[in-house]
Amino acid sequence: MSPLSRRKLIYTGLAAAAGVSGLGVAASLAHKYGLVPPDHGGLYGLGETLTYASQRLLTRHSFAREFSRSEISERPLANETAPLSEPFKRLQAGGFADWRLTVDGMVDRPASFSIDQLKSYPSRSQITELSCEEGWTYIAEWIGVPLSHVLNLVGTQPQARYVVYFSIEPDWWESIDMADAMHPQTFLTYGMNGDVLPVGNGGPLRLRLPRQLGYKSVKFITHLTVTDSMKKFGKGLGSASPEGGYAWYAGI
């Protein structure tokens, strides 16, 4: 081995070591500032992490576009869902009077809310677009109470990092980080276009967040849990979507 190539080898080794330790520092910083999604492992973890991290930095305080009343879609498309379960049908027969949203986990005062209770809180509305991952969209007026209002009522603890939300329908659950959970446009939605939220669009209660794709806006919400880690939920990937091959973070 000539001295030149040995020197080259040493330089290459040093550069590689610097690169690896640089990546290590970047990874620990990203973890510290909550820039790593729960589904960061696997073949596509790089893309998921780059998207989530960059958008967390860019969009923490940004607002989804709001539209004028004249831009509301004539007919809000009700996407196909699996046949509704017996528990749902029983509550539906009672006009959803017995529908409950339970909130637990890392909160000071776990609680349970009826739809009427949620309606008694300051009502907000937003005219925003629902974007499906398939490519179609519609605009509607969504009426509800900001999720942050309910989270403040129950008092989230400082170590809270995610809010997990469950549909009454089996295996339908998602989670979002606290930045999205506390965002003013993230609603517990009970109304649409001046009326009650139709069952086809998620009534009686849908978690609506317009800065992510439609599949994050889970229909028929009955349960919220506040947590500091997604490891204990399902396969630990953050929600049911990554278990089916879809991204946990759907801001794209």
């Binding site: 790089l46 860019l58 940004s62 974007s131 398939e134 490519g135 969209t137 605009i139 091959g245």
Partner: protein, 261 residues
């Protein structure tokens, strides 16, 4: 650059002009290592984006103009293929299996790698003068005569001379610049315009285009344009001498000897 530029007289087009380049750079590779590496990374990413993009389109093979569009609204046009979702009325009696999960993950990961590779290439190209020296057409070549000579050679399927292997003719230069500085930025822009989170921070990304569905439709057409470029590109490489051109883009070596086909 000035000697190269002044040597470019419109009379004989780029063929004659590239001779001084040959003698000056005989020992240098035809394509620098950075060009070769970014070229092939982009190639792999483009195929990944094309396949995954087609798969995503199949879940809703309808296109619209404006902000919103869904199966309840009138499409601008439909692609006559079966869909992977029962929601879409296609006229076919069956629904294809849903492969959107991995397709979307692959699409966005490839997009990230392609964009970062493209940024590296463009910054390198600006710093080294690659665009100015290698891709910007000389004034003389842009004359009607210069361009029509090249077009006539193309129409006659005339194989380029050995000297041409060291440079690009004026049509190549215009096409490559168009792809690098118009089509790629447009496909990235229209892609980002479909991101609900990105446009919340930069709403002009989508409002300038006229809506999210317009962005999706344009994204589709720009993809068609890029695919057309790819087909013509590969076809012309084959015509010019597939082995020598591939060797030049893989190893950097430019065999100027006559090639046995």
């Amino acid at each position: 650059m000035s000697t190269l530029g002044s040597a470019r007289v419109p009379l004989e087009g780029s063929v004659a002009n590239s001779i001084p380049v040959v003698s000056a750079t005989m020992t240098a590779p035809r394509h620098s290592a950075l060009v070769r590496v970014t070229h092939w990374i982009t190639t792999v990413c483009f195929f990944a984006l094309l396949v995954s993009g087609a798969e995503i389109v199949i879940s809703h093979p309808r296109f619209y103009w404006g902000e919103t569009g869904n199966v309840l609204t009138t499409p601008l046009f439909k692609i006559p293929v079966p869909s992977s979702r029962a929601l879409v009325p296609t006229g076919y009696g069956y629904v294809l299996p849903d492969q959107n999960g991995w397709s979307r993950a692959l699409h966005f990961q490839s997009a990230w790698i392609a964009v970062l590779t493209g940024l590296l290439y463009v910054m390198w190209g600006l710093v080294t003068g690659h665009f100015r020296k290698g891709l910007l057409p000389a004034k003389g070549d842009l004359s009607r005569r210069g361009i029509s000579t090249v077009i006539a050679n193309h129409l006659r399927f005339k194989r380029p001379s050995d000297e041409e292997a060291w440079s690009y003719n004026v049509l190549q230069r215009i096409t490559y610049l168009f792809v690098i500085f118009i089509l790629f930025p447009l496909v990235i822009w229209t892609g980002l315009a479909m991101s609900p989170a990105f446009v919340s921070a930069f709403p002009a990304t989508v409002t300038l285009l006229g809506g999210r569905q317009t962005a999706r439709t344009l994204h589709f057409f720009i993809t068609l344009a890029l695919t057309l470029f790819l087909l013509v590109h590969v076809g012309l490489v084959a015509l010019a001498g597939f082995r020598s051109r591939m060797r030049a883009m893989i190893t950097g070596q430019n065999g100027t000897h006559k090639e046995g086909v």
